[in-house]
């Protein structure tokens, strides 16, 4: 059960760490590296609170071993804002009251950005389907769907200051 040396590139920063093979990605991120924005809810792959992007796709980090993520690019909720500017998905949740206690929100936003990158103009039904793997126990889904719609509309607008649409990890598509 020897430890393994791995490299994780989290929100653009390389980290080298030593983990037991059984260490879950979510624990490596939170406990070893201090990215506590990613929450742990159910621990059973059901609630989606732990969702991060791995190699550009939304995954439940409670169901990925840190060793499986060796060498991968990871984006967490902390990587959404740039400088003082919120990402449109963060603005969307703020504008539309898409959160109450906020526990599910980091995961919701990471899944939503994965969805919007693939489908920039989703219908409300497609948003609901896209967020199927994320549970919210207090806000209610109506406002969350509104928040994602709001972000989709914002992302659709040409960026006012001539900048580029920001995606976690900085890639445009």
């Amino acid at each position: 059960m020897t430890d393994h040396e791995i490299t994780l590139t989290v929100n653009g920063t390389d980290h080298e760490l030593s983990v037991e093979p059984r260490t879950l990605l979510v624990h490596a991120l939170r406990d070893e590296l201090g990215y506590t924005g990613t929450n742990v809810g159910c621990e059973t792959t059901t609630c989606g609170a732990c969702t991060v992007h791995m190699d550009g796709e939304a995954v439940k980090s409670c169901t990925v071993l840190a060793v499986q993520a060796d060498g991968e690019r990871i984006e967490t909720v902390e990587g959404l804002e740039s400088g003082d500017d919120y990402h449109p998905i963060q603005e969307g949740f703020r504008e539309e009251h898409g959160l109450q206690c906020g526990y599910c929100t980091p995961g919701m936003m990471m899944t939503a950005t994965d969805l919007l990158r693939e489908n920039p103009d989703p219908s409300r039904e497609e948003i609901r389907e896209g967020l199927e793997g994320n549970l919210c126990r207090c806000t209610g889904y109506q406002n969350i769907v509104n928040a994602v719609e709001n972000a989709a509309a914002e992302l659709d607008e040409p960026v006012a200051d001539g900048g580029e649409v920001r995606w976690p990890g900085g890639e445009g598509e």
């Binding site: 059960m1 020897t2 393994h4 037991e20 093979p21 059984r22 879950l24 624990h27 621990e43 059973t44 792959t45 989606g48 969702t51 796709e57 939304a58 995954v59 439940k60 409670c62 169901t63 990925v64 071993l65 060793v67 499986q68 899944t111 994965d114 969805l115 389907e129 896209g130 967020l131 199927e132 793997g133 994320n134």
Partner: protein
């Protein structure tokens, strides 16, 4: 919710993975694919292997290719990569329709076709669809490769023909281009797995059914072809009435007493669902034939 400790290996080739399987034959050894069945089982203590062989880094096991009338899906291809592959939609429409219904977005980003098939969970979405697609499972071990038809691959709940030092390398599907494929499922409200899921492959030539293949997951201890339904429609016209009459034969040849019977649904309820979902799968296929869906 933290798995017991284990030794972890990351082979880079299939041959290396097989060597590791042989080398650790005495220990409890598991292959790790997408981990979306295995890791939950390990976290809850249902499974505690001594050795994990992670096949996620083996490039030759990943990807979708169409060649000479055969669609090949590498065992390590994620569901989302199947859905991104135009060739999969074109040549294996029923299987692709089933893949689309697996779990949720995050599960589809990690889970793999090979892992699903190898795990042989009767409530998963692919067993019925691989039968309908006439898939061949290609299994590799120390003595080389062998082809196992889907019909012979599943041996029961969580049991397949894969030997202890073998692994599944790919799933091959003869092209069904031109036919329409559908999959409709009654998902368990809590787990999302199939209480009943029906896959159908249908094509019509000059008003008569040409290809009719129908199969189900979730009903028996493994996927099943619904031969009564297929016989009812073969060569005849396909309309609301014939579909309804065919669906009424969905349970033909299936022993109701052996149907899956658990907290989610009794065997009797599954038998009812099977008819209804068979009708829906065929009706949807027939509608798609009449007016190909925009997507």
């Amino acid at each position: 919710m933290i798995p017991d400790g284990f030794d972890y290996h990351e082979p880079e080739t299939t041959a290396e993975a097989i060597e590791l399987l042989e080398e650790h034959g005495d220990a409890e050894t598991e292959l790790l694919a997408g981990g979306h069945s295995l890791l939950p089982a390990m976290k809850s203590g249902l499974s505690s292997p001594d050795v994990l062989i992670d096949i996620g880094g083996i490039e030759e096991l990943t990807g979708v290719t169409a060649d000479g009338g055969t669609l090949t899906i590498g065992a390590m291809t994620s569901y989302s990569d199947v859905l991104d592959a135009e060739a999969a939609r074109e040549h294996a429409p029923a299987l692709t329709a089933a893949v689309e219904q697996v779990g949720d977005r995050q599960v589809r980003n990690r889970g793999t076709v090979g892992g699903n098939v190898a795990h042989a969970d009767p409530a998963s979405d692919l067993p019925g669809a691989v039968l309908v697609s006439d898939a061949t499972m290609v299994v590799q071990g120390p003595d080389g490769e062998r082809d196992v038809p889907a019909e012979e691959f599943y041996l029961g709940m969580y049991a397949t023909d894969i030997g202890p030092d073998e692994l599944l390398t790919r799933v091959e599907v003869p092209s069904a281009a031109g036919a329409v494929g559908t999959y409709v499922k009654r998902a368990s409200p809590s787990s999302g797995y199939a209480m009943v899921g029906v896959a159908a492959l249908l094509s019509v030539e000059d008003g008569a059914a040409e290809t009719v293949r129908v199969g189900a997951s979730g009903v028996m201890d493994r996927g099943v072809r619904l031969e009564g339904v297929e016989d009812a429609l073969a060569g005849g016209s396909v309309d609301e009435e014939t579909i309804e009459a065919a669906a009424a034969r969905a349970g033909e040849g299936l022993d109701t007493a052996l149907m899956m019977d658990d907290l989610r649904a009794s065997g009797e309820f599954r038998a009812q669902l099977l008819e209804v979902y068979t009708e829906r799968a065929l009706a949807e296929a027939n509608a798609d034939l009449a007016a190909p869906a925009a997507d």
